[in-house]
Amino acid sequence: MRTHEIAIHEETARRIGSVLTHFLAESAASDALLIDRSGQLLAQGDSSRALDTVSLSALAAGAFSSTAAMARLLGEPEFTMLFHQGVKENIHVSAVDEQAILLATFDSRTTVGMVRLFAAEAGAAISAILTESRRRSSSAGGLDTPFHADDAKLMFRERSR
């Protein structure tokens, strides 16, 4: 089986967190989610509200991969950003690297141009951190000792009727 392909250590999480905090401050976006292209949330910037970030991540990755497939049908390698405009809330999704995307939500306190500009900067910074992290993970990633069947005897149980 393939081993853990992404390992986020405390130091990586801290550095990505600080990029996302900076991005939110500069762009005036409301939320920032770093999402693996398979749909899993990797990190998120501090936000004052509770969002269903797990579902948002899966749906954003699905939408982004779907538009990438459309791009290929047109002979483009990929569309590097997605923008959804709502009445109050908007979503901006941009490519970070081949493995990750950055989702930002924002409202009328800022503009898509601002979000786009700072998302590009944040994406470049995060891409560098992830590249370094992957290099380290491939030499010393994963758990010290792998999970064993005894760790996982009991998984999911139906609740009683």
Binding site: A13, Q40, G62, M155
Partner: protein, 203 residues
Amino acid sequence: MSIINYAKREISFKIVYYGAGVVGKTANLQYIHQWLPDANRGNLISLATGDERTLFFDFLPVSVVSVRNFTAKFQLYTVPGQVCYNMTRKLVLRGVDGVVFVADSQWDRLHDNVESFRNLQENLKEYDYDLDETPYVIQYNKRDLPNVAPVAYLDFLLNRRVRRVPSFEAIAVGGKGVFDALNTVSRMVLVGGFAREEEEANP
């Protein structure tokens, strides 16, 4: 793609329910969503057509607290089964860690099952994944219907690769075989191999 997050003490995996159209993939997720305790599940999201056929995917995040001080999270997806949606099926497979192949046990659907199983292997190859290195289980669904093939014959059609994998008889709408398949594939991806699980196949 399993992701291990030391900062949050989380390890997460992606499990895809694969199979032909109308075999019961969505029914599996609906049953799991209905019967898992609230603390272990998130929202079930279905991207379906007007007639309730899956258009893109269904998605249900579930979690188990504390596997060696980690929270193990599993993201469950289904694919659209209809042949014409192959491009979206392929997209959903990206980063998959484990597969539940759902087969319809009825005689007249056997060809569709075999075709879908072949399609799964082809689509995995596009990501350089190999089915023989991917943890998966097979679920023979709709065992309550009158016109079903014997399990031995279904095994002959779908489960005769070098490694035989755990298989389960199921009636997904009523829950039979649903948690068995989920628990087994979850253990397989967590432990990271087939070997210890093989003996549990077809008990």
